[in-house]
Amino acid sequence: MLNQYLGNYLLNHNLVDRDILISLLDENKKAHVKLGVLAIDSNLMTAKQVSEVHEMQKRFDKKFGELAVEKDYLKEADVDYLLNQQKLNSIQLSQLLIDHKVFSLEQLEEVLHAYRKENNFTDEQYRLMQKGDLNKILESMIQSQCDPLHIGKTQEYYDYVKLFLRNFVRFIDHQPLIADSNGKMFLEDAEDVIVASQEIYGTYNMVIYLIMKRETFIDFASHYSKMKINKRDELAEASVAEFLNLNNGLFTINMSEEGNPIMLKPPTILDEVDDLVLGSLIQIPIITGIGKLVLAIKPQ
């Protein structure tokens, strides 16, 4: 899961000229992504190993994958995995950087290493919140609540919830736990809840709701803004809304990487969620160090 698209990273670190980046992003024909670049991008081979296999290809009439497996640089399963990665946007960009000689393989390897270091969520952040079999609990919760019309999208909903939990650990609190409970009952009653909401549209259409009691909302706002917030005011609302906006923005990057572009509408703050809507939501009740909250997804 990414914090930043590779193109953005290159621009911000002045690694690529702005005009060159525009022309690379603009290339309409899909770059034929070579296995060597895929292998470097996935950290499965070094640039030196890739160059070695390229040299071997000049002498032997064999495919890259075959030779890499023979040299024990890759397993067969790795080759299959790499071929599945071909459509990712950042990989396309990596290949274009090589094709247009912006970077050598060694330079690309160095850049990608630094990019991954700066932009992947750390395992530490995720490990802190793993109690019990979190993945299985989430999968089962989403499957059981998803209506038949949207059952084909459960992987995306699952990816969304995992991203949310990682960002929650990153910005708010280290100890979120998934509760085994109905969302409405979990919050005990619907009185005095505040809801942050944002619509996502494009290849996937859904509305995200973050539902919590007033005290939790204020604490959440304080944690995210790193400011002292004591009441529900414009700053508190802006803080919670901005967390949701940030999380969903990162979701757009990850979806775009998979060739599924989506976009956001501005977030809003509501005082309730209609019972009818609540009934149709995929609800993930979460116990946190600042109180209970419900992350809910309304597929559309």
Binding site: N3, G7, I22, L25, A241, E242, L246, G249, L250, M263
Partner: protein, 121 residues
């Protein structure tokens, strides 16, 4: 005293407060202008001609892309840096093609932001 003007365009009060604090701490004598949506930003730009614009994308009424287009149409030399959470390939490409000079992915950090805005203020 810098005598420079920076226009902040973001519908989030939190972001505007954070950016204001950052700019006041880093640039002496800067004048900070604020807009909570693109339409207001365009009106302010016409009147004030700021040295630099920090622009969000996802905003109500007039969004950042439309606002960016109108500002660049009005002033080919406008210096606009996009500051947004939606840093995917499609939005990055479009904002740079329209004429943004840079794109900073939220959450922004002080040191990289400071380095990025330095040449324009």
């Amino acid at each position: 005293m810098s005598g420079k003007k920076v226009l902040l365009c973001d519908d989030s009060m939190l972001i505007r407060v954070q950016l204001k604090n950052f700019l006041n701490n880093h640039i002496e004598g800067v004048t900070i202008l604020e807009a909570a949506n693109g339409r207001v930003a365009i009106d302010i730009y016409k009147k004030e001609k700021p040295n630099l614009v920090l622009m969000d994308i996802v905003m109500p009424e007039t969004d950042g892309l439309q606002c960016l287009k109108e500002i660049i149409d009005m002033d080919k030399d406008a210096k606009v840096i996009v500051l947004s959470s939606v840093g995917n390939k499609e939005i990055l490409k479009e904002t740079l093609k329209i004429g943004a000079i840079n794109f900073i992915q939220k959450p922004w950090e002080e040191e990289p932001l400071s380095k990025t805005i330095q040449p324009y203020i």
